[in-house]
Amino acid sequence: MIEVHGVHKAYGEQEVLTGIELAVHDGEVFGFVGPNGAGKSTFLKCVLGIVRADAGEMKLGQGADVVDARRRPLEARRRIGYSPGETSLYQSLRADDFLRFALAHYPQADLAAGRALLERFGLPPRKRIKGFSHGMKRKLLLSQALACGAPVLMLDEPMEGLDPDARRTVEQLLVEAAAQGRTVFFSSHDLASVERICDRVAFLRGGRIMETGSIHDILARASRVLHLTFAHELATDKLPAREGWSWEGSGTRWRLHFEEDLPITLSRLEGLPLVGIRDGSGRLEDIFESLYGPEAPAHSTFEEVA
């Protein structure tokens, strides 16, 4: 579990995290979503003690074995398998040597499991890291995080740089880890993966959590959306206005948020010079777009947007 209350972090005048509140349970896969610069990586680093939080409480562990991460950062790190967002690694090391170095200080590390993960990812254990691609380094980092035996996994952008096959493998591994009772917490821009494997998700913006909830509830509460492409550019005043409708977009590409049933909306669109329609209702990507897109209000909560 991870339990966080009122975590603040500022660099000089710039507030990066403003009162983060979170509770992630044992065996849960939790997604942490937000645009670049929202504070996702800073939050992960605060929990690990790589960056010092200015205020707040952070506890983590499994079952009754819970530690205060601010007061006992070393004990907390023993309970966290971490894969950083940054893939810069020690270039001269071979993959197997890196794995041994990474796992050396974890009391429950399983080197054999780590080597099995290298094999599963197709990583050559005797090859030096300087010959690895970005995606291979990502897999190596994930392997050590998964094999360290820690009850909490904190992964910063674990899907970044991975091909679709590898993404599916990672998704499967994270679900398996959660099934073993481990807490899986990861930040990601890959909303499709978040939607597929997360039990719950938190949306972060400007260092503040805008919404936390189960994927199911969020998708159910989300506005219904149609992506429309017109044959020629249309101005806002040429678009039909109805109660419960709102338009976003410009030129030939518009997004229509609506509340009534889909067939009714479609029938009301007849007569417009449409060349393409795509139903985007109930997709996390559209929710993300609503929260963080150019039309999103600066400090809205999810409820306000939805």
Partner: protein, 257 residues
């Protein structure tokens, strides 16, 4: 594991430094017989030496013979210049390299306390700087017989200890600057620049008392032969090392990576 990682990172640098020290002293020892034969001619050429400090060194060479030559070549030049440069570079890399190469995030996410991590790296780095220096001194002492010279081992080791403390102080200053730095070689450039300035000051006899090189020159080393160890200088090196370690540990604990 932390030590092994340090060794892997610095192995070639340390081997290169060791080779440099050995080549330097081997050439110096090989040249000694020729110099010994012509030592009486030294006063004649002393007037040609522009620096009064260097003239003093040459004068001591004439007076003390091989012990002064050994002190200049291996201890003052090998320790005060070559080992000093190595200490500045290795100290500089200690933490700043991790920040510069963006490996700090990974390193500091391991379940190891920052104090332990710093101290293991500091001790490893110190070993990499000091061990080649000591090996070279012992090798030079052992090879002295090849040019029909001999020095008491205890005396050589005491002088070596004094220079080792000096080098450790330089290393620790660079390591401390490294805990603040983002660029891996910036602390090295600062330390080497300052030490070269100190060496330049030392070469001006009116100013040489203001140079740290005064603490490791022949005036301090040669009296070891008669049992006078430069305690005051050695204690001051110890104070610098402890003070810098205190600052470095304070900084490493509070730094965000």
């Amino acid at each position: 594991m932390l030590f092994r990682q340090m060794l892997r990172e610095h192995l070639f640098l340390v081997l290169g430094y060791q080779l440099l020290l050995l080549v330097n002293i081997a050439a110096a020892i090989a040249y000694w017989p020729e110099l010994r034969e012509n030592i009486e001619a030294i006063p004649a050429v002393m007037k040609l030496i522009p620096s009064e400090t260097l003239r003093d060194m040459v004068f001591m060479l004439e007076e003390q013979g091989y012990w002064a030559y050994f002190g200049i070549q291996q201890l003052f030049k090998g320790g005060g210049v070559a080992a000093m440069v190595a200490a500045a570079i290795l100290g500089s890399l200690l933490i700043a390299r991790e920040a510069d190469n963006r490996t700090a995030e990974f390193l500091f996410s391991r379940p190891v306390s920052r104090t332990r991590l710093f101290l293991v790296r500091w001790l490893s780095g110190l070993l990499f700087v000091e061990l080649p220096f000591v090996i070279t001194t012992v090798a030079a002492w052992a090879c002295s017989g090849l040019v029909d010279e001999s020095l008491p081992f205890g005396m050589v080791m005491l002088a070596q200890l004094h220079l080792s403390l000096f080098v450790a102080a330089v290393f620790t200053v660079a390591a401390t600057l490294s805990t603040f730095a983002e660029h891996q070689l910036k602390p090295a450039l600062i330390v080497i620049g300052l030490m070269l300035l100190q060496l330049a000051i030392y070469m001006v006899k009116d100013l040489w008392n203001w140079s740290v090189y005064k603490t490791v020159d022949l005036d301090r080393l040669l009296p070891i032969e008669v049992g006078i160890y430069p305690w005051a200088s050695a204690i001051s090196f110890g104070v610098v090392i402890l003070a810098c370690l205190g600052v470095a540990l304070w900084q490493i604990r509070r730094r965000d990576f």
